[in-house]
Amino acid sequence: MSATAAARPLALGPSLGRSTLVLGLGFTLVVAAGLAGVVLGTSGIGPGDAAAIILHRLTGIGPVTWPASSETIVWELRMPRIVAGMVVGAGLACSGTVFQALLRNPMADPYLIGTAAGASLGAVAALLLPIAIGSWLGLGLVQLLAFGGGLLAVLVVFSIARGHGGTPVVTLLLSGYAVSSLLAAGVALLMFSSGDRLAAVVSWLLGSLSGASWARIGFAAPLIVVSFALLLMRWRHLNALLLGEAQAAHLGIDVEREKRVLTGLAALATSAGVAISGTIGFVGLVVPHVLRLAFGPDHRLLLPASMLYGSALLVVADLGARLAGGIPVGVVTALIGAPFFLWLLRRSALGAR
């Protein structure tokens, strides 16, 4: 039969050591960002007190030596913001990774196929409706309509793009563009007639973690975590899709089904994130793209890495947003993301043979 294997063992993917390094670094960054976020803020609360407060809330240990207001600030204001930043950042980066593989386009982001436009229309409509439904599961009308709007838009985009032979990627992209444009026109119209509510609308569209609460995290986090877990289990399918749909089919992948499942899971994660924090840009585009350049396209490593580094990025961005006077975090991610991206492009353009 065939010759025996070479003496040296082959590396068929990122080595365990390398993966540990990459993910370990990511995890460290997340923890560091979280710590910085807890300790830093406009009210001066010492790191010792902040740590003690968290310890106390989690375990009940320790004499209470701090004022109640400090505890409220750390546990009810900063902690939810940090955790929400981690959750949403993870969800957006993870979803961006999947869309970049699915659409075979390293410039794809989680919003391309309608999630942002749909969620925006839902949220803006809710902001302008004179209906107060109070809260349901800790979510207001804005969160619910944003979530529903995002999912519904993706469903519409996908259905339009579906043909007899399946859903070609190019059609999906065009459909996403068209539907998003239509929905964005709706948002613009609503903004025009929003009167006094315009500031609230713009604030939501720019994306912000200032409304984070434990209840909202309780809604979004399970959805994002479950989506991530299910997506991670499909790492081989994602890798196969990198070879193109025809070849992936020859590897035994049911490509059309995969498109539906991957789109659905990624849209779920995106919509859950957008529902609680508005449309924060760049995280879903830059994080997977950069990680792929740095660590390779193997999704077994890329997906969890995206999650971790996306988390850290958003927490850091939110810290910057808070310290810069409470500006929307979407502005900060754009300010970080865009120049970094330009630098990368320039580097690759100069380095290309």
């Binding site: 803020g41 406009t42 009210s43 004022p67 109640a68 207001s69 400090s70 409220t72 600030i73 009810e76 204001l77 900063r78 207001g140 009167g195 006094d196 509510r197 500031a199 609230a200 604030s203 200032s210 409304g211 609460s213 006077g325 409470g326 500006i327």
Partner: protein, 328 residues
Amino acid sequence: MAPHRVPRVLLLPVLAVFAAACAAPAGASPSASVEPTASPPAPSAVAFPVTVTDDDGRELTIDAEPQRIVSLAPSNTEIVCALDACGRLVGVTDFDDHPPEVADVDDVVIAATVDVELVVGAEPDLVLAAGNELTPAAVIEQLEALGLPVLVLYPETLDEVYADIELIGTAIGQTPEAGELVSGMQARVEAVVEAVDGADRPVTLYEVFHSEGTTYTAGEGSFLASLLDLAGAMPLTGDAQGVLAAEDLVAADPELILLGTASYDPTLAEPAAAVETVRSRAGWGELRAVREGAVVPYLDDIVTTRPGPRIVEGLEALARAIHPDRFE
């Protein structure tokens, strides 16, 4: 930290002086000073707990007299100070400029953004917010979710200003002061109405803001329109948002144009320069008011930005600008 409690009986003459100082503008005007009454002061302890209903319809029960008040709008700050509770303020906005004492109070609203951490850190027992999204609804919700007592105020008429003053008075245990402040204001308004009674009502444009051919003025049925009316003018109004298109302005051809400060920087531009700017706008040169020199620059924007105790000052300034002959 408990404020120094001044015996009630000393407060009234202090308040009288304070009110007179606020109320009397430089130059002749119908003076209305508050007369110190002889009624005994009511100890505020019996007023609490008290339940009040704010402008959003929210019912709030205040158990004890608030000692740490956070104000999220300049008008609220001015009301609190006018009710002689300035010392109890622990958080204000960076737009607050009156009275001067508030400069020493920490800002919790910076560049129109409410910093919730700073609000919580100030440990308030009462938060006075502004309605109509001037304080974002999301922030109000968040503050309430954190257990802070919040009152939302948004007066759209003079009567509502009086009501809000009395509301705050009740909420912070300064009910008699509120009553007197309101009476004083009412008396001054009465005096203005009397002074302009019978005079011709000129069609008057109050320019709040002008940009790119669009003028922002008093909206139809707005607070500003009602003040212009009280001051003896026929207000030229825009649509519900106060937008007045150039054609409509020219068609209405106002007899008098009053310029607010929003479009101009009074520290840099001479009043005469502002009038020149107005004259040079497309179509404005032909207006009656411009040709006849009836353009009055730089009315303090109190009338649009401070629905509080000083609103009567603004009204008086309007009346003097519209009917100068009635105020010699």
